[in-house]
């Protein structure tokens, strides 16, 4: 909104140009989101605690001085409000990409919040929204997104890019197929929402890997949305998708602002509100710039988290009737084996920085 205001007022004023550049607006959005977090973080945390929106053990027992029980949950509200707030201020709100990303954010944060609320109020982590319902919510958005991307009458993407499948290290498209792309988009949304959700189990474990992924996605969006850069680096140009960079900047700022409070020992947990919001937006952004494989590489930590859960629950418990890992998701495996939480988290950060670097590297190696 500030962007719209400024552009209408100072269209021809010298110095306004700085607000036109995507990079500068992305950085401004980033800083704005972070500063808002610092401002509203503490009051929101206190509000959550007062309202009784706190985490609990399975048996809600006494205060345990060694456990995190009682920490406010649903801190994802902070990420949501600051991220979307900054987007509303600094993004071009007429841009279809921004609108879809905002819709994704609202949709996932809303159902995440309902799920969190039910779980806390019913005092049972199994009594939130049912698994089927959550899948329906995710698939529902996936289907909407597939239509948005693939239907030529609404899609902001060129039709040959929309249904393409691109992988790193290869120029151009691997192949074009509308049915495959539709199914793949739905899969990506369900995957990213769940993967980030599973990763959310330790202080700061979701935040930094998410930030890394958003940096990669923001960079790619900037290149692909720029005629010169995309031509130079041999990417298929998608008009107007550079605005996604500004969106990513805002979300990164929000995530860092949240990390301020969430870092070990945490004062607040993001809950499903935050993890579904981050996961949903992340997946949507990757789909919109048609770089799903890059997203999977950059967020390899999320792949590991969701795969470890699958291996333990389905292959282990359901099929073989035994444990395969000590515990699942994988971060609990390491914790069980004796690694301190802070150590596991930091190592996962390191891994996510490395995978993000790898993803950036794929720009040049083609």
């Amino acid at each position: 909104m500030i962007y719209a205001l400024l552009s209408s007022l100072f269209e021809n004023t010298r110095g306004f140009a700085v607000f036109k550049y995507l990079t500068s607006r992305a950085l401004i959005a980033f800083v704005t989101a972070f500063l808002i977090s610092l401002l509203i973080g503490r009051p929101i945390i206190n509000m959550l605690y007062r309202r009784g929106l706190r985490s609990f053990e399975r048996s809600y027992g006494e205060i345990n001085s060694q456990k995190k029980t009682g920490t406010p949950m649903m801190g994802g509200i902070i990420i949501f409000l600051t991220g979307i707030g900054s987007v509303l201020m600094w993004c071009d709100l007429t841009n279809p990409f921004v609108l879809v990303l905002t819709a994704a954010g609202v949709w996932f944060a809303l159902f995440g919040a309902i799920d969190d609320y039910l779980k806390i109020k019913l005092r049972d982590p199994d009594k939130g929204l049912s698994r089927t319902f959550k899948f329906a919510v995710q698939i529902g958005f996936g289907v909407f997104l597939a239509f948005f991307v693939l239907d030529p009458s609404v899609s902001p993407l060129p039709s040959d890019v929309a249904n393409s499948f691109q992988i790193p290290f290869f120029k151009g498209f691997l192949f074009n197929s509308t049915p495959f792309t539709a199914a793949f988009i739905v899969f990506m949304i369900v995957y990213s929402a769940n993967a980030v959700n599973f990763a959310d189990g330790m202080d700061g474990l979701t935040t930094v890997p998410s930030i890394c992924v958003f940096i990669v996605l923001g960079t790619f969006a900037y290149i692909i949305g720029n005629t010169g850069h995309s031509q130079h680096l041999l990417y298929e140009y998608i008009p107007r998708c550079g605005e996604i960079t500004v969106f990513c900047g805002a979300v990164i700022g929000a995530a860092i602002g949240f990390l301020w409070f969430n870092t070990h020992p945490a004062e607040v947990f993001m809950g499903d509100t935050g993890s579904l919001f981050l996961g949903g937006v992340m997946g949507t952004a990757a789909v919109l710039i048609r770089q799903e494989v890059v997203f999977i590489i950059a967020g390899a930590i999320f792949v590991v988290e969701i795969t470890s859960t699958f291996v333990q629950e389905v292959i282990g418990f359901k099929l073989l009737k035994r444990r395969i890992l000590y515990r699942a998701p994988i971060h609990h495996h390491f914790q069980h084996a004796g690694l301190a939480e802070a150590k596991v988290v930091t190592r996962f950060w390191i891994i996510s920085i490395m995978t993000a670097a790898l993803a950036i590297m794929t720009i040049k190696f083609r």
Binding site: R322, R323, A340
Partner: protein
């Protein structure tokens, strides 16, 4: 104009007969009332209701699926919706003043239909809803329908505690008053029973109960040794011509097998038409725990041995039986799960049954007391109580005085599934719950056996854990079975060893070799959790029985191999197990050195504790142990967090709380 009533409920006769009993009473009290019965095609009500001369209308319904399969749920929802729509049609055309439902999913469409009609018409549709629950434990349908109902009548005073007190009243279980009254000696004369006999009357309803028939026939040789005892067995006959269980034939075969065919003190009947006569003649009854049987027997003031259907998913017979048993009016014998019996069907333990019967027989004063207690359990006439409440509900009379129902006890074992049973047993072990009394122990063991024979390894595993927590050493054979064949069911094998590590310290000598064999195999099992739980049995075994040196050698060979296992927990337990049993100081120290720089600090903790153990037991000299201790890597990647604020909170809270006291 007469009042109009809809009765609904069914599926089994147990839901229909109380409704019919109330109808009979209602017709006598209010002859001008109009009555309609709503049931479901192909269920018991289709046979019973027209026979009683009541008009019957049919709706569709379905039981709620137990699983979470969305297809089944959708099918259920569709059927129920259709049923409700039809029921709403019936309700609108009949416009009843009251709906009386006896539970069972058959009653769901009518009850919810009436409730929906009331909601959408904002009270213009004024039908009242009255539910009746037959059992101690609320049925699934009634649990949900309780919100929709105006009142709930319960058969057992106990049930009121799980309902809103102002919405529920005790009525008892209405039975049709067709039971004739007879004098005891007269009844015996007409049945040809010697005057001085001790008469045991066992019956399992019109179709007979296999468990009752079998246990009675099996124990007949022992019971009939006592020349006073006379047995009447209402064995039942198959329903219709479709075959099914033929009680009479079954009992006759068993008796012939025991050389008791045509014994003149074993009266075998396929069908009993004048129950009153047999009740009057008998001293002790053997029955199932259906609400109807219990009610009838108690109102006759007869002591009984109750054999409830023991079933994990549906506890209501056990609940009913325990209620009567706790109040001192009956003895309860639990039946064993199916697969354990050699004949492949559920059976009750013969010895336990004979013991229960002879104890009762030899205690005439106790029997008398039991029959007094039985008489007082269900005061008042159920049908009359319900009618007077119905009159109040439709505005014909004042609220009736509640009938005395002071008899209650809290049964902590009813409604426990395997998960809640496990946490319950943990609470007992930690002292948070009172210890089990012998009767509760019998029930829990019956439930554990039921879990043992489940096909699902998760249940087998849980059964092992529960037995381990509770310290039930007599369940050892089943646990050893799982421990010896852990490959097919890894979870069950794992938890069998977990239980063994707890049970070994107090178990019987005769299991020694079996346990050893199991442990020896367990520590080299392919599943890591089985390995480390098996290793945990080693110290317990050493303490209880002690290993021979040959056995030690075989164990240590594997244990030393496990010092470099992939799983850190296996390494941990291998270190502590080996250092517990090895007496060769130079060898154990040399082996332990391999773990001084183990990548997992938890293993190194184990090594340190092992050194302490070795020096305390005198295997290694303290100086040498101290020297070894300093060679261990003590950099650690783990630590325990301690939130000081929460600690202070706790201290302050306890301090203030004690001040209050």
């Amino acid at each position: 104009m007469g009042k109009r009533f809809i009765f609904t409920g069914g599926g089994s006769g147990g839901h229909v007969s109380p409704a019919l009993a109330v109808i009979t009473e209602l017709k006598r009290e209010m002859p001008d009332s109009e009555i309609l019965y709503v049931g479901m095609a192909g269920k018991a009500e289709c046979a019973m209701v027209p026979k009683a001369g009541i008009p019957l209308k049919l709706v569709k319904s379905a039981p709620m699926p137990t699983g979470k399969s969305p297809v089944q749920l959708a099918k259920f929802a569709a059927t129920l919706t259709l049923g409700i729509l039809k029921a709403i049609g019936i309700l609108l055309s009949f416009r009843p003043d009251l709906v009386f439902a006896t539970g069972g999913y058959v009653s769901a469409p009518t009850v919810f239909g009436a409730w929906i009609l009331r909601k959408v018409t904002f009270g213009l549709f004024k039908t009242k809803i009255l539910l009746h629950e037959s059992n101690v434990d609320l049925g699934r349908m009634n649990k949900m329908a309780a919100h929709a109902a105006d009142f709930i009548a319960v058969s057992f005073p106990e049930t009121i505690k799980s309902l809103k007190a102002e919405k529920s009243f005790y009525s008892g279980y209405p039975v049709r008053s067709t039971i004739s009254q007879h004098d005891k000696s007269e009844a015996r004369r007409s049945l040809g029973i010697p005057e001085k006999s001790f008469v045991i009357f066992a019956f399992g309803g019109s179709q007979g109960a296999r468990t009752i028939n079998r246990v009675l026939a099996e124990s007949a040789p022992e019971l009939l040794k006592d020349t006073d005892i006379f047995i009447i067995n209402g064995a039942g006959k198959p329903f219709g011509s479709s075959g099914g269980y033929d009680g009479c034939k079954d009992v006759r075969e068993i008796l012939a097998d025991k050389g008791l065919a045509d014994n003149d003190r074993y009266l075998l009947k396929d069908f009993i038409d004048d129950m009153g006569l047999y009740y009057a003649a008998s001293d002790l009854l053997v029955i199932r725990a259906g609400a109807g049987s219990i009610m009838e027997v108690c109102r006759q003031g007869k002591p009984s041995v109750i054999i409830p259907i023991t079933n994990l998913a549906n506890d209501h017979q056990v609940g009913n039986a325990r209620f009567i048993g706790k109040l001192g009016a009956a003895k309860v014998v639990y039946e064993e799960p199916e697969a354990l019996s050699p004949t492949g069907v559920a059976f009750a333990d013969k010895n336990e049954f004979v013991k229960a019967v002879s104890e009762l027989k030899n205690d005439p004063a106790g029997l008398k007391e039991m029959s007094e207690k039985a008489k007082n359990i269900f005061p008042g006439d159920p049908a009359k109580i319900i009618i007077s409440n119905i009159k109040y509900m439709i505005g014909l009379s004042q609220k009736p005085e509640p009938v005395g129902c002071a008899l209650r006890f809290n049964d902590r074992l009813i409604g426990l599934n395997s998960v809640t049973l496990e946490s319950f047993m943990r609470k007992i072990a930690s002292g948070a719950e009172k210890p089990l009394d012998p009767d509760e122990e019998r029930l829990i063991k019956a439930k554990i056996r039921l879990l043992f024979v489940s096909k699902n390894p998760v249940f087998n595993a849980r059964a092992c854990r529960i037995a381990g927590i509770a310290g039930f050493c007599d369940l050892m054979p089943s646990i050893l079975d799982f421990a010896k064949n852990p490959l097919s069911k890894p979870f069950a094998g794992r938890d069998a060893f977990w239980a063994l590590s707890r049970l070994t310290k107090s178990c019987d000598e005769r299991f020694r070799n079996d346990i050893f064999e199991a442990v020896l195999l367990g520590i080299s099992n392919s599943y890591y959790e089985t390995r480390f739980n098996a290793e945990e049995c080693v110290p317990a075994f050493e303490k209880r029985f002690g290993f021979s040196s040959g056995e030690k050698g075989r164990l240590l060979e594997t244990l030393y191999k496990n010092f470099k296992d992939r799983a850190f927990e296996v390494r941990m337990n291998a270190v502590s197990a080996a250092s517990f049993i090895d007496r060769d100081s130079s060898r154990i120290l040399k082996e332990l050195q391999r773990c001084y720089y183990d990548s997992c600090w938890k293993v190194r903790i184990s090594v340190m504790k092992a050194l302490l153990q070795l020096s305390e037991s005198g295997v290694v000299a303290p100086e040498a142990a101290l020297a070894e201790l300093d060679k261990i890597l003590i950099t650690s990647t783990g630590y325990t967090t301690e939130y000081e604020l929460k600690q202070v909170y706790k201290t302050v809270k306890t301090a203030i709380s004690t001040e209050i006291k």
